[in-house]
């Protein structure tokens, strides 16, 4: 057995089989259980190390050849795979509670498998192709067959497709830069190409306009999954670039451009999010603001980059899944999620409302919640580099906090004589409560992530030095 077969081919095939064979009722449990098993395997069975169980020796080989190129997952990838599949399991189990299990689990498994392949493929540049393929698979989740596609989804397809040529070309040019480092023209051209590619992938200001539109048009749970999965793997891809081409990070102009791009994203998304009157759009802007934080981290010249990035990514999975689940529950009662529609719903959906606000506050960096420790670590690193950047990030996160307070105000604005009800099902309540407890746990005991974080720097050897 080889690692790419286990963590790429198996979920890809399982996703296809679930789509064909299983009905809506069981797909959430089967898909969630498979993702959880794959996460546990990644934790307990090291790749490329012989394991003796009784008289049986098991060894998962790290690589597989495919059309003359290899897909490789090494020992150091174990923690990353555990995080990815662990968080995916959370999303898949949540589909039952959100009522979107149909197609979500099967396509979701295939998307996660393709995104995992993007980490494994060698040369790593080809990841751009796998990312665009994963983006295409997301579309059937966003647009059900009975709904006309809106502008948001069309823009999403265009931007994701645009990113691929820029990144592939820049990769080829970067190889030229390595061969002749003194050639400033090629360096500049490759830098511009790479920036354009990642600008489309990350949705850097103003290219993120499709996200709020999509949050209005599509299912919040599917869009939330998209906003978790694609930026997560794009960040890992970007880390690969910075690790492979160390001069990118050492060139002050490029590092400043990345930092500036991230700060712009956080500041503008926070500000615009605070002005919204639609709960879905608010989620979209908060997710953009957090992607901006990730980008700002990539622009730092610090050995702590990898730790801070993953310290943000893990709670992000919790925050977005809880928030999107809570929105899905509320949306059934209050379509289309404008403040006027959700007014006073806290008394009818107290658990969903509570979970939504806690996830929102966590994303704003509220103390004791999962989002707080990574933001503290970011500020610690950022304050050394630029006070102005720290201020604008604070400004953006204040915007996220303001939108949380406005959402809370709208949700609790009920008539005094309205009685309290509990309309969430047991499954929904359990999922939301587990998620919220997870956020508190990550906020109070961030050191619990240390076993996962400790081995991640080995994935990006140059960045960690």
């Amino acid at each position: 057995m080889s690692a790419p077969i286990l963590w790429i081919a198996l979920p890809l095939i399982a996703g296809g089989l679930i789509l064909v064979i299983l009905g809506e009722r069981y797909s959430a449990y089967v898909g969630g259980a498979l993702a959880a098993i794959l996460a546990l395997l990644a934790v307990f069975i090291p790749i490329d190390t012989a394991l003796l169980i009784g008289s049986v020796s098991i060894k998962i080989s790290p690589a597989i050849e495919f059309f003359g190129r290899s897909f490789e997952l090494n020992t150091a990838d174990g923690s990353l795979l555990a995080i990815i599949y662990g968080l995916s399991a959370l999303w898949f189990f949540g589909t039952e509670a959100s009522g979107t299990a149909h197609r979500f689990v099967s396509l979701g498994l295939m998307i996660v498998a393709l995104l995992t392949a993007s980490i494994a493929v060698e040369p790593f540049l080809y990841a751009a192709l796998l990312l665009v393929m994963a983006a295409m698979l997301v579309v059937p989740l966003l647009v059900p067959l009975y709904q006309r596609p809106g502008r948001g989804v069309v823009r999403f397809i265009i931007y994701q497709t645009f990113a691929m040529p820029f990144i592939l070309f820049s990769g080829w040019m970067l190889a030229g830069v390595e061969a002749s480092p003194g050639d400033l023209n090629t360096t500049l051209q490759s830098g511009v190409m790479l920036s354009m590619g990642f600008a489309f992938l990350f949705g850097i200001f103003p290219l993120y306009n499709w996200i709020p539109q999509l949050m209005e048009e599509a299912s919040p749970y599917a869009t939330g999954f998209l906003l978790w999965a694609l930026p997560t793997f794009t960040v890992i891809f970007a880390l690969g670039f910075l690790d492979r081409y160390a001069w990118l990070q050492n060139t002050p102009q490029i590092a400043n451009a990345i930092l500036f791009g991230g700060v712009m994203m956080t500041a503008t998304a926070g500000f615009l999010g605070a002005l919204q009157r639609h709960l879905g759009r608010i989620l979209g802007y908060a997710a953009i603001a957090e992607t901006g934080l990730l980008l700002a981290v990539l622009g730092l010249k610090s050995v702590e980059i990898i730790n801070v990035v993953f310290l943000i990514l893990i709670p992000r999975g919790f925050e977005l899944s809880i928030w999107a689940l809570a929105l899905s529950i509320i949306k059934r009662k209050a379509y289309p999620l404008k403040f006027s529609d959700v007014q006073g719903l806290a008394r009818k959906y107290p658990v969903a409302t509570g979970a939504l606000i806690i996830a929102h506050l966590s994303m704003a960096g509220f103390p004791l919640l999962g989002g707080f420790p990574p933001r503290l670590a970011l500020w610690q690193e950022l304050s050394v580099v630029s006070t102005a950047a720290s201020f604008w990030i604070f400004f953006g996160l204040t915007g996220v906090l303001v939108s949380a307070i406005r959402s809370l105000a709208a949700l609790v604005m009920a008539n005094e004589d309205t009685s309290w009800e509990w309309n969430e099902s047991w499954v929904q309540t359990a999922m939301l409560v587990i998620g919220v407890l997870g956020l508190f746990f990550l906020g109070i005991f961030p050191q619990a992530l240390q076993p996962f974080l400790s081995s991640l720097p080995a994935l990006f050897e140059h960045l960690a030095q």
Binding site: E24, F66, F67, G68, R69, H102, Y126, L129, L130, V132, M133, M136, V139, P140, V143, P144, L145, Y146, Q147, R148, P149, R151, V153, V154, I157, I158, T161, F162, M164, P165, L168, F169, W172, N185, T186, Q189
Partner: protein, 204 residues
């Protein structure tokens, strides 16, 4: 010498076909022009690729056209999104394509200097299609036309990328991306035409 002449003819075909895709209102003619465009793309890619690998681009392209054509044919009552936000006259579209052609012809020698060995017709054809695709995406909101714009842009990129990267895996993945765009376009064209059925109704 002969291959050079054919290559320039292929460039002329890319210009005419991409301009036709932008200007023609009838989806059948647009898809026909795209089919012709893929023949020119095949020829330009074959300047750097072996015949078998270049033919992958042609076959994939025609498969995408078949998928889109069959889907569109089944939709008799489909409303075409009205592109009313830009000047729609033929003169404007010809002017746009003229600008793209000028940029392609002007940029080709400079790119040839920066990346020697690509060949002027290959660069001109590639840049022309990328420009035409982007122009198309800029002036339309109709779903089928957006997909045609993306396919045109990708064709241009593939012509240029074939000259610098010849890995089989990349060719295969690019073919999958093209096919994926076709299937996605087909799916989105159908979306909205199927009535909603609740899970309870499905079980019945």
């Amino acid at each position: 010498m002969f291959t050079d002449i054919v290559s320039w003819v292929a460039v002329a075909i890319t210009l005419i076909s991409s301009a036709s895709i932008i200007m023609m209102r009838d989806w059948r003619l647009s898809l026909g022009a795209l089919a012709v465009q893929y023949i020119a793309v095949f020829w330009l890619v074959s300047r750097h690729f072996p015949f078998a690998m270049s033919s992958v681009k042609l076959i994939t392209g025609w498969m995408v056209i078949a998928i889109l054509g069959i889907t569109r044919m089944t939709q008799t009552d489909l409303e075409t999104a009205a592109d009313t936000t830009y000047p729609r006259g033929a003169a404007f579209q010809i002017a746009l394509m003229g600008i793209v052609a000028l940029i392609a012809v002007g940029a080709a020698p400079r790119i040839e200097n920066a990346i020697p060995g690509l060949g002027l017709p290959v660069i001109t054809g590639g840049v022309l299609l990328i420009g035409a695709g982007m122009v198309h995406l800029g002036i339309t909101s109709d779903l089928l036309r957006v997909i045609l714009g993306l396919l045109t842009m990708l064709s241009g990129f593939e012509i240029l990328y074939a000259a610098v990267e010849s890995a089989i895996l990349v060719t295969g993945l690019l073919a999958v991306v093209n096919l994926g765009l076709g299937i996605l376009g087909s799916y989105l064209l159908m979306a909205g035409s199927i009535p909603f059925t609740s899970p309870e109704e499905e079980e019945l």
